[in-house]
Structures are given as structure tokens and as C-alpha cells.
């Protein structure tokens, strides 16, 4: 058991697809919240193999896409401060802020390093004691505990030049915001698997209970998604709405208690700005008082200047699931992966990028 190829076997997929076709009677719209799911769905052509009764819409589950321009501008402003080294996951490099991107300021001489892990950022801090190393803390509940761990390690090893710009986002509050807006009607939700590996499945209960929407936590292999869709269909046809896990090998109902404890120790919830959705209460994380000396926002005098949104870009509507990339007049014309206007085209998990790269609906 290596936990990957076993879940890509085409002969098992065929059985599931047949079962979904047989079971699904009621027309439904399911949202995959998570950008990772969007990628699997497009990469394997899953929409093409589902029956016509099932419509899939993509949600706002891409941390890069939902980062507000104002926050990107802060990161870019930080990179221009002398003796600051920016460390970031590769995802953020190309995303355009109001006036520039990290990739562009790097070309202009800013010290920007792509890292795979906060452990690498800590190493860079150790090797450059006279400089300040700022880590751009993007990500959902999956990533936030790893950033929390890096802060604790920095404290243990007395690293004095490591800072975090905390742009973390929390998933359940934003799903509530989307459902409350009533803009998009859903009959099922594919819950994010790796967020749930940390928070467990209980935090999704309110969706099933308060909104009557079936929820199934899914993994990221094609068989995981198909199984998840099959379980959602079964709930629909049985008239149920509950929270189930189709990814039991990776997710326990109670989540990862140690990770939650670390997250809780370092961060506290705060309001956060989501692109296209606006401010959502208790959907962000800021450093607690005892750890404020690691907070890049407090440690540096950041002047990001005024924020602009790209004209004509409907990434916000796409993130809410109200529109699809095909509805955007910039899509594939003014906005391509090479010359992206909005974040959904930049991020490899963005809906626009997935539509563009994998060519939705090209048929058999």
C-alpha cells in the first residue's frame, strides 16, 4: 500500500461511475470547495464521466486566489524594505497585486526566495543573521499549523530575525458566508480533505444541520472524488443531509489535536478580507500577543499604497461560484496563464487556470 496509485485504478473507477449513473435521479449542483479538488476534476476529466443530473461548481478553496489585493500589496511593500528577505511558497510569486507582483519586484532586485517549507525559511534566517527574513503566511487550516510550528521553532532556537506576515484563512466561516449570501444554490458540498485532516469533520456539521446540505469530505485522487460524489448522490436520493468522510485514511472526525493545539497557541481568529467575498468575521488568523514580535505587520513600517482591482476581472464572482470562467469577457483573451489579469488564472488551482489549461468540455 503506497496510498497513491491504488486510488487511480481505472477499473475501480468504472464501477463507481456506473453506480453514480444508476443512482443519480435528481438534478443537483455540487460545489467542490477546494482548488485541489478542482484540479483533480479537470486533470482526470471527471466532469465528462458524470451523468447530466450532476452539475459541479468550483468554490473559493484556493488560498492564493482569495488573498486580497491589499494583502498582496503589503507583501510587495515588505519586499522593498532594505535588508528584508521575503520567503514564500512558489504559488505567490506570479500573482499580480495592485501595481506589481513578487516576480517583478524580484527582477527589480528585491530579495525573494521560493521555499518548499517554513523549515527552509528558518534556515535562510539562520544563514542571514544581519537581515530580516519574512515568511508570507498564506494557506488554510492545513498550512497554518506548519507556520505555527515554525514560530515555535524560531523561539526555541532563539532566531531573532524571522517574521511571519499572517494572511491565513479559515474555511468553515467562508462557506457560511457563501451559503448566507444565497447567491448560489447547492445540494451538496465536497469538503476539503487536507483542511479536514487538521480540523476533522465536525466543523462541517453546521452545513448539514443548519442548511440541510449533504457534506462529504474527499481525498484528492480520482477514486476519492468519484466515491465522494457517489456518497453525496446516495444522501440526496435517500433524502438525507449529514457529514460523511470519503477519505477515511487521511481524515479522522476529531482531526489532528496536536496541530489544532499549536495553531491555537500561536494564533487567534480575526476578521479577514477575501477577494470577491469581502470581509468575513473570524475567518483569518493573527498572532497572539505573546508572539507579536514575530508579526511582520507590526515589526515593519509597511506602506502598500492605494489598492486597485483589475478592471473587468470577475474572479470575485467565480470564487463565490456565481459565475464560471466562460462568463468572463477577459478569459482566454486579455487574461491567459501567460498574462494573467486575476488570481484565478495565476494560481495552478484557480478555476480559470484549470478551465484554460485542461480545456473544460472538450468531449470524448
Amino acid at each position: 500500500m503506497k496510498f497513491i496509485t491504488e486510488f487511480r485504478r481505472s477499473e475501480l473507477a468504472e464501477g463507481l461511475i456506473a453506480q453514480i449513473h444508476r443512482r443519480s435521479q435528481t438534478p443537483v449542483r455540487f460545489m467542490e470547495f477546494c482548488g485541489g479538488h478542482t484540479v483533480t476534476i479537470f486533470k482526470y476529466g471527471i466532469r465528462q464521466v458524470l451523468p447530466e443530473t450532476i452539475e459541479m461548481v468550483s468554490g473559493p478553496g484556493c488560498p492564493v486566489c482569495v488573498t486580497a489585493n491589499a494583502d498582496l500589496d503589503k507583501a510587495i511593500a515588505l519586499s522593498k524594505i532594505p535588508d528584508v528577505i521575503i520567503t514564500t511558497f512558489g504559488d505567490m510569486l506570479k500573482v499580480p497585486g495592485s501595481r506589481s507582483s513578487l516576480q517583478k519586484v524580484k527582477a527589480d532586485g528585491a530579495d525573494v526566495h521560493t521555499v518548499y517549507s517554513t523549515m527552509d525559511a528558518l534556515k535562510i534566517a539562520g544563514m542571514n543573521p544581519t537581515k530580516s527574513v519574512v515568511f508570507l503566511g498564506i494557506g488554510f487550516e492545513t498550512t497554518a499549523p506548519t507556520i505555527a510550528a515554525s514560530i515555535l521553532q524560531a523561539r526555541e532556537k532563539r532566531v531573532k530575525n524571522y517574521y511571519v506576515l499572517s494572511l491565513h484563512k479559515l474555511c468553515p466561516p467562508v462557506i457560511r458566508a457563501i451559503l448566507d449570501s444565497g447567491e448560489v444554490k447547492l445540494q451538496g458540498l465536497i469538503c476539503p480533505g487536507h483542511v479536514s485532516a487538521i480540523i476533522g469533520s465536525h466543523p462541517w456539521e453546521f452545513i448539514a444541520q443548519d442548511y440541510g446540505i449533504p457534506c462529504v469530505v474527499s481525498g484528492f485522487e480520482p477514486l476519492d472524488i468519484l466515491r465522494c460524489v457517489d456518497m453525496l448522490v446516495a444522501q440526496i436520493e435517500n433524502g438525507e443531509s449529514k457529514v460523511e468522510i470519503a477519505y477515511r485514511r487521511g481524515v479522522r472526525p476529531e482531526g489532528n489535536q496536536q496541530a489544532l493545539k499549536l495553531m491555537e497557541q500561536i494564533f487567534e481568529p480575526c476578521p479577514a478580507q477575501w477577494r470577491g467575498i469581502g470581509e468575513v468575521p473570524s475567518s483569518g488568523l493573527k498572532l497572539r500577543k505573546e508572539y507579536q514580535h514575530f508579526d511582520a505587520e507590526l515589526a515593519f513600517d509597511i506602506d502598500p499604497g492605494p489598492t486597485y482591482e483589475p478592471e473587468g476581472c470577475i474572479c470575485g464572482d467565480i470564487l463565490r461560484g456565481v459565475k464560471t470562467p466562460a462568463d468572463c469577457r477577459l478569459f482566454g483573451k486579455a487574461c491567459t496563464p501567460q498574462y494573467p489579469v486575476g488570481p484565478c488564472m495565476v494560481s495552478s488551482e484557480g478555476s480559470c487556470s484549470a478551465y484554460y489549461l485542461y480545456g473544460e468540455g472538450i468531449g470524448g
Binding site: 497513491i4 504559488d91 526566495h113
Partner: protein
């Protein structure tokens, strides 16, 4: 000899002569180079192929090769992909001052070995040394000429509907081997770069069939980018099957970890061939008998509809478009 390369090594003075004589002439000993005239002078007749490329890989040493081997193989392969028999190479070094002589000798040695294997001669060269920070250790430029036999017509615009698409072996080895050495990403693997001269492979393929339509080595941008180039140049579509494309377990694992798609990862010792159906099996067999293409496979075919597109059948039986690489491959979390 100094143990590091100094600016004076590129000045044209005594140190420069010492470097050329002790460093390069000895290694690449051949009559054309030994004359030390301003140009190499030789006779050739027939249709010639001529190409050039620059090598700036970082780090300059990686599992399975170094920048020197890469510089020879890259240019030899570019010639071979035109159906040419590679003959002569030029070699130009741009060295950052401070490069250890030992590293340079090691690279010169692997250039020598690669050139020997590829059966080409280094007949012209140049060395420049630049200030620290003006280059990253060592850049190499090579140019090469080769000769194309009568009756061979290979070009990226020759693919026609019905042709089969052949791939010489598993993809992504070079890109992942190099990435494994990068600062901040370091992971260890037995995986080696596939960097290899493909002149003999091409010669054997051409012996099996002189009707090969296209040959191309999927270097930067990977298989996906190469197939897109061919589809656009020939105004056809290319349909491939995911399950037929060989990928090593290590490459797949590294790609999963870093968020790469193996279709976009660089190769330095692989080729794609587009061949008329009637000759496809003959060519495939010839490939499989060559050391560098044991795992060659037919991965798809050329179609007329939707010109310029590359479409892949996924393991679920659905289809998706495979586009060119955009920008850099960056490790990502999303």
C-alpha cells in the same frame, strides 16, 4: 597552475595560454583544433545542419552529469533531431572568476567523454572570464555542424494525420535530478539525469525507416511543450494516452511533492518521433534495441481535427487538453 580561475585567465596573456594548452588542447586533442588558427578549416559536402545553444544550468554538477556533458549532448541532439550525423562542435566558456580549476578540469573531462561517445570533435573554442557575480560559476555555449544523408526529410512541420507518436523512454529524469540538488528543495534520490547523446539512436532509427516525419528532444518545457510545438508547426492535433507515457516512480513522487506535472519536466536524453503508421513498429523495435531507448513506447497518434491542440486521454477514459508550459515550474503548496 593557479587553483582558481582568475580574471587573468581570460586576458589572452600567459595564464590564458596555459589554460588553453594544459586545460583544453590536451583534452580535446585533434588536428583541426591543434592548429590554433583563428578558425577551424575543413571540407564538407552535402546538406548541412548547423545549430547553437547556451548552457546555464545551476548547479553545474548534478546526478548523472554536469554542465559540460549537457553542453555536448544538447548540441549533438539538436543536430540529430534534424536527421543529421553530428560532426564538429565549437565550445565557448564564460567563467566566473574564482571557479576552482579542479571543477573546470572535471567538466572538461566530461566534455571529452561525451564528445567521444557522440563521435564528434571539438574544433573551435574560446574562453572568457568575468567578474564575480557577473556569471553563475560557468556558462557554456556550443555550436555544431552535422551532415544530413540523401533522402532524409525531418522537420517539425511534417506530421500528418494517422502518424504514430513515439517516445524513447520515461520522462522527467533530468529536471527532477537537477531540482533535487537545489538549495531549499533538497531531497535525495538515486535518480540520475538522462543526459545522453542521441546521435547513434537516431542513426539506427533512420536505418529502420527513412520515412520518419519529425524528431524532437523534449528538453525545457518537457514532453507537453514539445508535442504542442509539433502540433502547431504541422497544423495537426496530437492525441496521447496518459497510461502509455512512461514515468519513473521517483519522478512521479517528486512531482507529487512539489506540485509539478511530469509532462512539463525537462529531459536531456529523450526524443519524440512522429512516424507513418506503417513504419511505426519497425522504428519502435530499432529504438528498443538501443541502450538509450529500451523503454520506448508508442504514446499516441496524429489527427486532423482541432489543429494545434494536444489532447490526452486520462486514466478515467475522459479527455483533457495539454497546453504548453507557461512560465517556470515552481514548487507550490496548492
Amino acid at each position: 597552475m593557479e587553483d582558481k580561475i582568475l580574471l587573468a585567465h581570460g586576458s589572452g596573456g600567459k595564464l590564458a595560454h596555459e589554460l588553453v594548452e594544459k586545460g583544453f588542447l590536451k583534452a580535446f586533442d585533434n588536428p583541426l583544433l591543434a592548429k590554433l588558427d583563428d578558425s577551424a578549416v575543413f571540407n564538407l559536402s552535402g546538406r548541412l545542419a548547423f545549430t547553437t545553444d547556451s548552457y546555464v544550468v545551476s548547479p553545474i554538477f548534478f546526478p548523472g552529469g554536469d554542465i559540460g556533458k549537457l553542453a555536448v549532448c544538447g548540441t549533438v541532439n539538436d543536430l540529430a533531431m534534424s536527421g543529421a550525423k553530428p560532426l564538429y562542435l565549437s565550445l565557448s566558456f564564460i567563467i566566473e572568476e574564482g571557479l576552482p580549476q579542479g571543477e573546470l578540469s572535471q567538466i572538461v573531462d566530461s566534455i571529452y567523454k561525451a564528445a567521444q561517445e557522440a563521435n564528434v570533435e571539438i574544433v573551435a573554442g574560446d574562453t572568457k572570464v568575468v567578474n564575480r557575480g557577473s556569471a553563475d560559476k560557468l556558462f557554456i555555449n556550443t555550436a555544431g555542424v552535422g551532415i544530413i544523408a540523401e533522402g532524409i526529410d525531418i522537420s517539425g512541420s511534417n506530421a500528418s494525420p494517422g502518424d504514430k507518436v513515439l517516445l524513447s523512454g520515461p520522462i522527467g529524469d533530468h529536471g527532477i535530478a537537477v531540482v533535487s540538488q537545489r538549495e531549499g528543495l533538497s531531497f535525495s534520490t538515486q535518480l540520475k539525469s538522462d543526459c545522453a547523446p542521441l546521435g547513434s539512436l537516431v542513426a539506427e532509427m533512420l536505418e529502420a525507416s527513412s520515412n520518419i516525419h519529425c524528431l524532437r528532444d523534449p528538453t525545457r518545457g518537457g514532453l507537453a511543450t514539445t508535442l504542442n510545438e509539433l502540433a502547431k508547426q504541422s497544423k495537426v492535433s496530437i492525441r496521447i494516452e496518459e497510461e502509455k507515457i512512461p514515468v519513473r516512480e521517483e519522478v512521479l513522487a517528486a512531482c507529487e511533492m512539489l506540485g509539478f506535472d511530469p509532462l512539463y519536466v525537462a529531459n536531456e536524453g529523450k526524443l519524440v518521433a512522429i512516424v507513418p503508421t506503417k513504419d511505426a513498429n519497425k522504428v519502435l523495435k530499432a529504438m528498443q534495441q538501443n541502450h538509450y531507448a529500451k523503454d520506448a513506447a508508442i504514446i499516441g497518434e496524429v489527427q486532423a481535427e482541432r489543429p494545434g491542440r494536444v489532447v490526452m486521454k486520462t486514466c478515467l477514459g475522459a479527455s483533457r487538453i495539454v497546453d504548453m508550459l507557461v512560465g517556470d515550474l515552481l514548487p507550490r503548496i496548492c
